[in-house]
Symmetry: none
Subunit: 422 residues, 2 copies
Amino acid sequence: MNAIILSIGDELTSGLTINSNAAWLGQKLSALGIHCRLQLTVGDDQAAIVSAIRQSIGTCDVLIISGGLGPTEDDLTRGSLAQAMDEPLVQDQEALRDLEAFFERIKRKMTDNNRLQAMRPRSAACVKNSCGTAPGIIARCGGTHIFVMPGVPKEMKAMFEQAFQPLLQAAAEGVVRQITRLNTCGAGESWIGSQIADLMQRGANPAVGTTVHDGIVSVRIYASGPRDQVAAMIAEKTAAVRQRLGALIFSSDEITLDAAVTHELLQRHQSVATAESCTGGMVAMMLTNIPGSSHCFKQGWVTYSNESKAAELNMNPDLIKKFGAVSREVAGAMATLARCAARTTWAIGITGIAGPDGGSPEKPVGLVYISIAGPKSDDELYIRTCHFSGDRQSIRLRSSQMALTLLRLKLLGLDPDAILPP
Amino acid sequence: MNAIILSIGDELTSGLTINSNAAWLGQKLSALGIHCRLQLTVGDDQAAIVSAIRQSIGTCDVLIISGGLGPTEDDLTRGSLAQAMDEPLVQDQEALRDLEAFFERIKRKMTDNNRLQAMRPRSAACVKNSCGTAPGIIARCGGTHIFVMPGVPKEMKAMFEQAFQPLLQAAAEGVVRQITRLNTCGAGESWIGSQIADLMQRGANPAVGTTVHDGIVSVRIYASGPRDQVAAMIAEKTAAVRQRLGALIFSSDEITLDAAVTHELLQRHQSVATAESCTGGMVAMMLTNIPGSSHCFKQGWVTYSNESKAAELNMNPDLIKKFGAVSREVAGAMATLARCAARTTWAIGITGIAGPDGGSPEKPVGLVYISIAGPKSDDELYIRTCHFSGDRQSIRLRSSQMALTLLRLKLLGLDPDAILPP
């Protein structure tokens, strides 16, 4: 089976938005063993959309379209599809009822433009959108299956996985491609690469590679093979990578660092509190990202000013005077005092210099102290001195990720200094 | 003038690599006033490449090709271009000498495959590569200018800017395309669209369209015209949009909501504190994103448990017993008490149900109360009841964005209820 991906939007042709949807769909199709033979991208221009659809109909098994289903004047995909299929647009009664119910639920008035979102080519069907208002469309024309989805990535992904992937899975046969990702935090990409260099030979199957995304280094393992063998091929190579990287791996596939840490806490019925300075609430936000986190996250302080560290955490002001707000001593006190005040199993303290201002030769931008106070004894306290590079955003993100990583290793009963490269 | 961008590589069609080259080129072409009417992406497959080039020749002024110029078996662009142009491949003597000199310099043996990199269609010319081995190609066929560049982003960008951009600039004869974006928060895309529907007529120049990205609805204004007029065209249309949307617009172009709010606070030498429940620190994180925010953000509380609301904010526990932790009364008390404890000009209080669990018929998932305590009098307090749709992540994000929006409107001395749609 082969496919064409058609992406629609002026923001794509003008380069304002990078077309990550097409890459995501390409990966999904690959995994299903479907060859993407062409990607097309056109702007919000009916003639161009109609021409791209006509060019695709009859020349591929599957045409996947995303974008242009919104409620405004520049959303032209429905009309263009009908024109390319030589069919009139008709109102879909069920989709209209769903839309009306949606607006009823969020207590907003439905506009006439929203009503247009429930139109479809006569022989086509509407597909429910679980995360937004615009229904998708499924159609068949000239031997080509046509799937139309919204361009908003979250809505597109949910609709593809819920509605279209099962249909494609059933239709695709034989050789499949499977990908597994092992996610690490706490070591750089080149260090991770050096630990598994011999597993990364080019042309091997399964192939092993590394990627970095938002500070998380992932090891990807791809295998191509018969449907009944590919899982075993992946499992063997995965075991080899796990043996090398051990506890640096916090999850596989889509599981995020915050989810992995929250899971470890919930599983042990343990709780955590945070006292943050340079990360400004980011660690608390990560620890409350996951449903159910209210069972393990109790309380957070964002003590951005020196006065707030003293007033809210009952910190001895002399400590800040003597060592400075950015110091091992203050980081340690933040965790110890937060754990005590919130009566939690664990607490995290962070203080550092996120920049761009505020650095000095002794305490440069990127210097961050992270401490973990724990339950073993009243004075159990781990403190790590970190030097992060990059801009303010990445220093804040790396600091928060390192804090979660240190908490995770302590939860597992491990010594972070024995696991993380210096 | 109009252009087609053709990207070549299996890593693109399979989605392993996101096609950021096409977006970069789209922006460059827009800035030159050249309309990108189509982007095509095909794999390392000679038949597919030849077909894409043939389809483009004669249908656009400029065809920009990237990828497939390397020295390996799967680099097929040179041969495909010659085939599409019905010309033989010939050796370019100067490019060959450059290649030989390059390998001499790095003291490596030149392979036969490298020698192939100095081939070109007979009527074409080679273009020097300042950052790598593969020369580019410039050709003309069927009225279309053809520019071929390597796919490695650094080499592609350098070659485009050094060799092709000056040619295109001269050819584009002064017509340029300019884009401005006005960013709004607090109203949905369809509501924004309904306020400016008459400005969004299709085919107009400047053209007006809307996009949504991470909860922010932006109005984009594109104009094409002579270099000396386009700024005025944009300015006129921008003024018309601003007149309709007023204070809903928080910034233009790349300025984020957190930056806009931080700027308003700094400008007034005012300060803010936060008391968050369902957003778990996200508002504090946003208010500390921007360099210099330590001058206006003083302190944040993440009072996730009922006990922490009482203990840390000195909230009367009866309030929670009587009205529930998610109530107007508790939201109001959170802001008032946080402002008092942190001694700031403003404070934000948020409590709500981010889901997926914890909802009830009276208090469904998505119900969020946001309060702003202010400096006018001791009991100045604004409270808004919001109903957000979507999953946990988007409810948390929307709540945080709405909190910043409400603070922004109060900072400007405006009544949020008079500005935001109900």
